[in-house]
């Protein structure tokens, strides 16, 4: 398996740090494979003929179930079916080593699928890494994929922090409950993050107009500047590169949580 090398990660000691990192990998990074194969043809080609159900389980921790079928990937946070491959991560530290340093996981099931793991899945995760690692000499289409994957992964990571990180919990405890719509105007992309069923979570699609705040980035250039921490967001608002409306404290506070992701992955 590719290292998924922390586009993101600043390895630091500490169980909590590793527990949160492991969760981000399992609940935010791996689920981004769903979007990757939808958006990126080379990624889709890698799994076009595959029919696998991969179950990642962190002992006493998070689970990720990926179903690869008909050139698509679907994700579930629980075991949704009988897996063809079961990868066990012994501890958060082990999970971080697997995802960042390429250490071998424990394969509990799927010994006959090692070839798929080593070739196709490894290449698939490397393709994800290509986008999550940050801006490169992307084509115009790749720029779009980069922006979408980064934003969705960030919003999914925010869900992890909302559940597991003390400071994020405190920030969100003082936040009005509602749903934030995040979008990129030029490519007509939207995703959501909000308080639903008693917790703050990432929402892929929202039926109706039930959001309480809006944060729209004008174009891909603005999005890249924001993602690479090169954008003065207040200046961006005044210049019309960013548009906000609705309950602004939700935007402020979710922004604070999003800003904390780099404490774990960079």
């Amino acid at each position: 398996m590719g290292t998924l090398s922390c586009p993101f990660c600043k390895t630091e000691p500490g169980n909590i740090q590793n527990a949160i990192k492991a969760s981000i990998y399992l609940k935010a990074v791996l689920p981004s494979l769903v979007d990757l194969v939808k958006l990126d043809k080379p990624a889709k080609d890698l799994i076009q003929s595959a029919n696998e159900k991969i179950f990642f389980s962190l002992r006493n921790g998070d689970k990720t179930f990926l179903k690869i079928e008909n050139g698509e990937v679907s994700y579930s946070p629980e075991k949704a079916d009988n897996p063809t491959i079961h990868i066990l991560l012994m501890s958060p530290e082990h999970a971080v080593q697997v995802f960042e340093q390429g250490k071998l996981p424990f394969l509990l099931k799927g010994f006959t699928r090692i070839s798929f793991l080593k070739k196709n899945f490894d290449a698939l995760t490397k393709r994800l890494e290509y986008y999550l690692k940050g801006p490169q000499n992307y084509t115009e289409e790749e720029k779009k994929i980069y922006a979408i994957l980064q934003l969705k992964t960030a919003l999914r990571s925010a869900e992890v922090l909302a559940e597991k990180e003390e400071i994020s919990k405190k920030i969100l405890a003082g936040t009005p409950q509602g749903i934030l719509k995040v979008g990129i105007e030029s490519i007509n992309f939207t995703a959501y993050f909000g308080y639903v069923d008693g917790k703050w979570r990432y929402i892929d699609q929202l039926s109706g107009q039930n959001f309480s705040s809006v944060l729209i980035l004008k174009d891909l250039e603005t999005t890249e500047l924001l993602l690479t921490n090169k954008l003065d967001t207040f200046a961006g608002l005044g210049l019309g590169k960013i548009y906000i409306s609705g309950i602004i404290p939700i935007i402020d506070n979710v922004g604070l949580v999003l800003g904390r992701i780099t404490q774990y992955i960079s």
Binding site: S168, K170, D232, F234, L237, Y243, G246
Partner: protein, 412 residues
């Protein structure tokens, strides 16, 4: 009715972003002005209750510099006092007698005050008040209200904000407004550790309806604080001198140990004040707190002239009456167009919200449409009235508001 163009504002803002973080920072930042393209960013001049932006657009100002302007821009009495003192002495190597005169004036004006101390901004004196409470009690913890604002020093900000550490806020306990049980619980849970309770006289946070103290709230607070030996700090920076010249606590009938003033104290000239009870004077003397410009005499002269004018004109009564008239008109206009405009807080500095849309987007749109036509309204913050707002200004504002309601109605 003309809808304003902001092309010069945009040019200046672009220039600003090259050399200033945020372009315009802090509470003047465009961030809460929704949408930002409905708002001006830079002014060229101001007079009375109006200001003009760099595009030449004229606004009737309902933010009053976010509170400081109470007599009107360029009030001749206040400005004359400032200029006269400026010509005599302002910054100097020793203190001015104006400082003594202003302290005497405040001690006479404010019933709980036995002494006064001067600084520049509201946060200078909220910080000082907290230090005095800690010095007096030998305790660390401060209880504050959720959503209450006391400046931008790290202890006053929320956890997770850039530049704020967990240690900075470790000794601040936040409780809901109007919740005596929460206060009692916080005091019991932190028995013998709470130095002070800091609160505005009524709850005027941003983005949400403002709230008056419930019947018996301040009595209950005072009893609990007395029982636990906790210093009561009234942060009257925003409301001070608008509700009552003796401090807003007089309006709500409670007696704090310390009161923080700023904003309306000098009609825009930079000065703040902490006043306190005799019992805390020696402790105050032991807490070292100072600043480069805290002795500038011209600002003290301006404060004195401003407060004398407010007293002469009985400003709180005028502002309350004007505010009630203004609000009645606004509420009726809204109703005529099928909207419910909720007005909360004191009429001199009320908070407004169109209730049909809990996400505030409708209200934001209405405020933006008003601003683009010359009534400077923000949608997130309470507004302010001044002694310079006249019936004619109110009438003109109603006309603008009506036009904006028409636009709002046609858009939904």
């Amino acid at each position: 009715m003309e809808v304003f163009n902001y092309s010069e504002n945009q040019k200046w803002f672009e220039r600003a972003t090259r050399v200033i973080p945020c372009g315009v920072y802090g509470h003047f930042s465009p961030a809460p002005c929704v949408p930002t393209n409905a708002y001006p960013f830079f002014s060229t001049r101001a007079d009375g209750c109006k200001f003009w932006d760099v595009d030449g657009n004229e606004f009737i100002d309902y933010m009053c510099a976010y509170g400081p302007m109470i007599m009107g821009y360029h009030n001749p009495v206040v400005d004359e006092a400032f200029i006269t003192q400026l010509k005599q002495a302002d910054a100097n190597s020793i203190a001015s007698t104006k400082m003594v005169e202003l302290a005497e004036f405040l001690v006479d004006l404010i019933p709980i005050a036995d002494w006064a101390f001067f600084a520049k901004n509201g946060a200078d004196v909220t910080n000082y008040a907290v230090m005095i409470a800690r010095a007096e009690t030998g305790r660390k913890k401060i209880i504050a209200i959720k959503g209450g604002y006391h400046g931008t020093a790290p202890w006053m900000q929320g956890i997770g904000h850039p530049g704020v550490t967990e240690e900075d806020v470790a000794n601040v306990i936040r409780i809901p407004w109007n919740d005596l049980k929460a206060l009692e619980h916080a005091l019991e849970e932190n028995y013998g550790q709470v130095a002070g309770f800091i609160s505005s006289p009524y709850h005027h946070p941003v983005f949400v309806d403002n709230e008056y103290p419930a019947e018996g709230y301040w009595d209950g607070v005072q009893k609990l604080l007395k029982k636990h030996g906790v210093v009561l700090i009234c942060d009257d920076v925003r409301a001070g001198f608008r509700l009552h010249l003796g401090g807003s606590n007089e309006y709500f009938k409670f007696k704090p140990d310390l009161i923080c003033f700023c904003k309306a104290i000098a009609n825009g000239y930079p000065i703040s004040a902490l006043v306190g009870r005799e019992e805390l004077k020696v402790t105050a003397s032991k807490v070292f707190h100072t600043g480069s410009y805290w002795y500038s005499a011209a600002f003290m002269a301006a404060a004195m002239a401003n407060l004398q004018e407010l007293k002469r004109l009985n400003a709180p009564e005028y502002l309350e009456k004007l505010g009630n008239k203004f609000n009645e008109g606004l509420i009726k206009l809204a109703k005529d167009y099928g909207f419910n405009l909720k007005v909360t807080g004191h009429p001199a500095m009320a908070y407004y919200r169109i209730t049909e849309d809990p996400s505030l987007q409708l209200h934001q749109k209405w405020c933006a449409e008003c601003t683009k036509r010359g009534a400077f309204f923000t949608s997130h913050h309470n507004w302010f009235l001044s002694m310079a707002h006249t019936d004619a200004d109110i009438q003109k504002t109603w006309e603008i508001c009506e036009e904006a309601f028409k636009v709002l109605k046609s858009s939904i």
